[in-house]
Chain length 325, copies 2
């Protein structure tokens, strides 16, 4: 039987684990997922990861494993391959995931922040293929940013992942857990949208709140509810989404001015409602045009969805096994 060189990409999330087997050319041969059951500790968690990899690779005829990449909910130290202490995986303190996988499979392994993995995936096989300066923004409960230049991740001091979601864009904005007021995440994330809706509904002097279809469920409201209410014509919800979209556009404007990227990809839950956000985004992109030569920057939705992480993790280890020129 002919052998097939493969790499594995793993996406380690707060609740679930996904892995895929790829050819070096980027073909996804097989993919599966499992529960991570993080609360049972990192020892069992790492075993679940290795078992998923074993099972998947065994299912590919002639597979010759060349490396394993992991994209993980952060923070992670990409230089040492150690998962530091994610708020989303309680008790997983300083877990040397890359070293453990390397030991187990006898091939190189690496660890990347999940945002970094996602942008690498989009660069490799998604919406940003071959783009010289590819920026990606993930708008979900928070706002994550990641940047690839000529196919390589931009890393900050110490190899760490910058936190563009915490740029300050309105000093009169609400306090954020990051310590500043009015950072991007505190104004435009899903969490910010839900919080603003709850506050508005609690304001008995707000006439829009009195007439809102969201009224009465303030406690349980999340960003999705606000989006749905906006689509249903609710004036309060529309006002909140418009404001969040304007702040979101403002943060993108700053990225345009600071990085002059060739493309910004948008991903994450709220981006499934890109139509609601796009008018405000477009307005801010237009403001940047006089500065952006030939106005060539593209703002586009990411393409790989939930698979971006495994694609990117696979590409990350491929880059280490066969460094680009």
């Amino acid at each position: 039987m002919e052998t097939q060189p493969v790499v594995v990409g793993v996406d380690l999330g707060a609740t679930s684990l996904r892995a895929g087997v790829f050819t070096p050319q980027g073909q996804l041969l097989t993919v599966d997922q499992a529960e991570i059951q993080a609360e049972q500790g990192s020892e069992k968690g790492v075993r679940r990861i290795t078992q998923l990899i074993e099972r998947l690779v065994a299912g590919v005829p002639g597979a010759r494993l060349q490396g394993v990449g992991v994209g993980t909910t952060g923070p992670a130290d990409a230089l040492t391959g150690v998962l530091i202490n994610p708020g989303t995986l309680p008790g997983w303190v300083n877990v040397p995931i890359a070293a453990r996988l390397q030991e187990r499979f006898g091939v190189p392994a690496c660890l990347e922040n999940d945002g970094d993995a996602a942008v690498l995936g989009e660069y490799w096989m998604g919406a940003g293929q071959g783009v010289s300066r590819l920026y990606m923004v993930t708008l979900g409960t928070g706002i994550g940013t990641a940047f690839v230049v000529e196919g390589r991740l931009y890393r900050g001091a110490g190899g760490f992942h910058p936190e563009g979601g915490h740029q300050v864009i309105d000093p009169d904005g609400p306090p954020c857990y990051c310590g500043a007021r009015g950072c991007w995440e505190s104004l435009a994330s899903g969490t910010a949208i839900a919080k603003r809706a709850r506050e508005a509904l609690a304001d008995s002097h707000n006439p829009l709140a009195q007439n809102s279809i969201l009224r009465g469920e303030a406690e349980r409201i999340d960003a999705r509810d606000v989006v749905e209410a906006a689509r249903a014509g609710d004036a309060l919800a529309q006002q909140i989404i418009e404001q969040a979209a304007d702040y979101f556009g403002m943060g993108l404007f700053n990225l345009l001015m600071l990085f002059f990227p060739d493309m910004i990809l948008l991903s994450g839950g709220v981006m499934r409602n890109l139509d609601l956000f796009m008018p405000a985004i477009q307005g801010w992109v237009e403001k940047s045009q006089p500065y952006l030569p030939s106005g060539q920057v593209k703002i586009a939705p990411a393409k790989l969805g939930y698979y971006a992480g495994i694609y990117g993790a696979a590409y990350a280890i491929l880059q280490r096994v066969n460094p680009p020129g």
Copy 2:
């Protein structure tokens, strides 16, 4: 006579022209300057540049010229070496400076934005020697930014120079010529400081204005006057400087979060008054500490002053003659 390989670095400003002859190791052998007399047109201007270079190189015994670099008031197209249409050199439209120098001297020549040249100079022989991720902010009449990663300039789409001075940090701020409201430059530059002082002095309801030593000269006030008045204990001037310093720190905070640089160098006129700005800057740097691994980022004054441009222009052409690894 032994020959001495040299490169020339030129700094082309709005009113003056400076050039230096350097060894490839970074020793400045000789330097001089001249008026550019921009209003006489680019033909005569280019001749003045070549004459200055000829004169300087002729003064170095055994000099063998290897290349000429020019740092220029922007905008400039670094990829083609063409000066586009600077507001500060009226009528200098699409001047192919690099090609003209290459023709005249028969050696490679290149053109960089002056902010880019300055950060290259500081990286080569100034305060940022060998720093992996070196960001530089120049606070003068405007705010300029430039970034060097592993010794190479970060270039945006189309090879152009990003405009970090126009990141928006307060949407309630004043309108800027860039088209946005409350960008960094509109809130923290020397121009912003002077404008704010003039506006405050024109406000007959502002008690600080009524008692200010700046009163009566509102029309002619510039940032330097405000700084001097603040040092002399003037309450209005102190308030204006404190506010500008806070905005300046806020913009730096964003750079820290978005780039995680190893060092940010500060330069420009206002930075000669770093003591007035440092308390606010320090406060913002502290806010970024939880995110910056090991808190290792350094904020420091640039070192080469008016010579940064010629050092950087020389280094830029050296990099092209002998590309780094």
